[in-house]
Amino acid sequence: MEALDTLLLSRIQFAANISFHILFPTITIALAWVLLFFKWRYNRTGDYDWMRAYFFWVKVFALSFALGVVSGITMSFQFGTNWPGYMESVGNIAGPLLAYEIITAFFLEAVFLGIMLFGFRKVPGWLHTFATAAVAVGTLMSAFWILVLNSWMHTPQGFEMRDGVAHVTSWMEIIFNPSMPYRLIHMLLASGLTVAFLVAGISALRWLMRDRSNELRKTMRVGVWMGALLIPAQIFMGDLHGLNTLEHQPAKVAAMEGNWETGSNVPLVLFALPDEEARENRFELAIPNGASLILKHSADGVVPGLNDFVAEDGTIEHPPVAPVFWSFRVMVGVGFAMLTLSWAAAFAMRGGRGVEGLPRPLLWAFVPMALSGWVATLAGWYTTEIGRQPWLVHGVLSTEAAVGDVPPSMVMSTLIAYLAVYAVLLAAYLGVLVHLARKQAHGAEPEPGRAADPAPEMTPVPAE
């Protein structure tokens, strides 16, 4: 069973790397545009508080960007070290898409990042704004190419197989594959929500640390409104994406719904422990006709069941049920928590009441919700990626066929090393976010037991 061990370990290793990686692009994709917005507001109004907001958040951006870059490099190597069958089989398609990501996005971001971070005093204002815009466009293009490739792995088309190797027949069909527009917009909105709640959460934390600067009032408003506006769009988009998945990957939707038998009037399962041995749900709590209503928009709509995806010899051809079922529920649950919190906050801040209008429990609720975008994004990716199993490229290449011939001990030892590094970095990242927030909140006031902050321009502007 050596092959299986390497397969499982390689999957865990890639899952660990890609999970760690996606945390940071999820922040940088939207944060770049938020920074551009700050810079644009400063250019228009001349209000230096917008630049203060920029300087604070650009630090978070720089840190997130660095973590995203280094963990992304890891993945580009792991295609070869752990999944050589992937490029050998579909390299003619994946290759150019990845190459276009590197040449159109990576270099644009990486080169202009220096000017964006350190160039405010060195270059004319328009060039600094341009550098910020270039980085924002770069992150967006990077997301575009990666989501094209990922969507193609879910809904492949525009190619033909010759001797086990995929050859391109139409680039338009590959790029504009059926799930790409849904997945791309779903992910971009997820990034926007992650940043909205991160900005609101850190701003709330600073407010609770008695920071009363005007810059903070601005960022809190931006975060709350961004969240309140994007979340309904995301719920609507998620529904469309689900319908698209139902059309192309019914087994995944059956696992998301925890539905075993194909039929009409399928209930919406709110809670259950799916049991793959017995092929049924335990402790099921469900709303009658719910799944039929959501997926077919009629109470007697027919919804596919998992038992349709078992071969005659008993081979399971659907994804593992419990992880897909649960990660989907986590994602949706976090989404509704975002809706509740951002709308409550937007209501409390209405009509110029501002941050003062927010009751303390609401401010406190924003602090843990700073990371809600991460949780929802990861849960969503687990739903869609585990939901594609046992395929790596749906219907074309199985995950098992792509794995490399490396001894399991080697995969295991590197896995442990990566996990240790990622754990330390994640702890350090969160620690530094809190540290930056505290430094900003306390400004030049010396903290007990620590030297005064030497940067005088970090002094918060007195409230009003």
Binding site: S76, T81, P96, F106, L108, F112, F120, V168, G404, Y418
Partner: protein
Amino acid sequence: MTLFADPTLWLPLAFAALMGLSILVYVVLDGYDLGVGMLFPFATASERDRMVASIGPFWDANETWLVLAVGLLLVAFPYAHGTILTALYLPVAIMLIGLILRGVSFEFRVKAPAPHKWAWNAAFFAGSLMAAAAQGWMLGMYVMGLEHTLGNALFAAASAVFLCIGYSLIGATWLILKTDGDLQRKAVRWARGGIWGVAGGLAAISAATPLVSPRIWEKWFSVPEIFLLAPLPILSGVLLAVLWFSLRRLPTADDQFAWLPFTATTGLVILAFIGLAYSFYPYVVPERMTIYEAAAAPGSLFIMLIGVLVVVPVIIGYSALAYWVFRGKATELRYD
């Protein structure tokens, strides 16, 4: 133009050339910032801030050349990509962890609470060392044909040491260019120390490569090749001499010629690279797989080539802009 008549002939060659160019640019550019990282333990706290400032605006773009190089290997030679990277599984993992530590320490060392700074400085040094040593090991293993034997491992270990010294030399010459005062004087001393390691490394790789394979021996030591190739070792010798004499004179009073050691070192890297490329052509996996056997389908290569030819000049253009904006001696990095 018979060469261009058959795209299965010239497309793999074009991509091999592009990949070679990316690796070369990577070695020079990331070479200087990994080298600066490895010189960290020899510097004082304020010198370290200055050293990081000299590479801060550039390191990210420098590393992107590695992504491009492995990306081109991945996309243009998918069959070789798996073979090479599975054979180098552990050193690749060590290099990646090194690059992770190095990259994030840039950010953490200035943003983390001050009492933690020493730990991120240590991670910055360790990451740079891990990445450089792993790359040297991989170079040695690659030259030896990716066969895991004790002799090859010893050679790879020596190659790792030489590459670390080589990167440190590039890093030191970069500091001569980008700093002044005490740190510049120190950098000159560091560079003087590195020059011997580099000469030894060049000699060892040059001696070993033809001995590994009769085919490479044939390519070097037959007439007229030996005369056509003679400029490589001769020019290398001249550049080493230039380096040696310039380091004895630097730093000059008006900072003239501060650019010379970095330029000479870059020249050495280019010559060494041409030598290696000549030895291994047409193989992408030494003695096992040629670039023509490993290449992706011509249609896929062609669509990438168009993108690369349009975009690479633009990349060079805005890289030049970044170097121009941050020209001159490195000053403190400020966000505001």
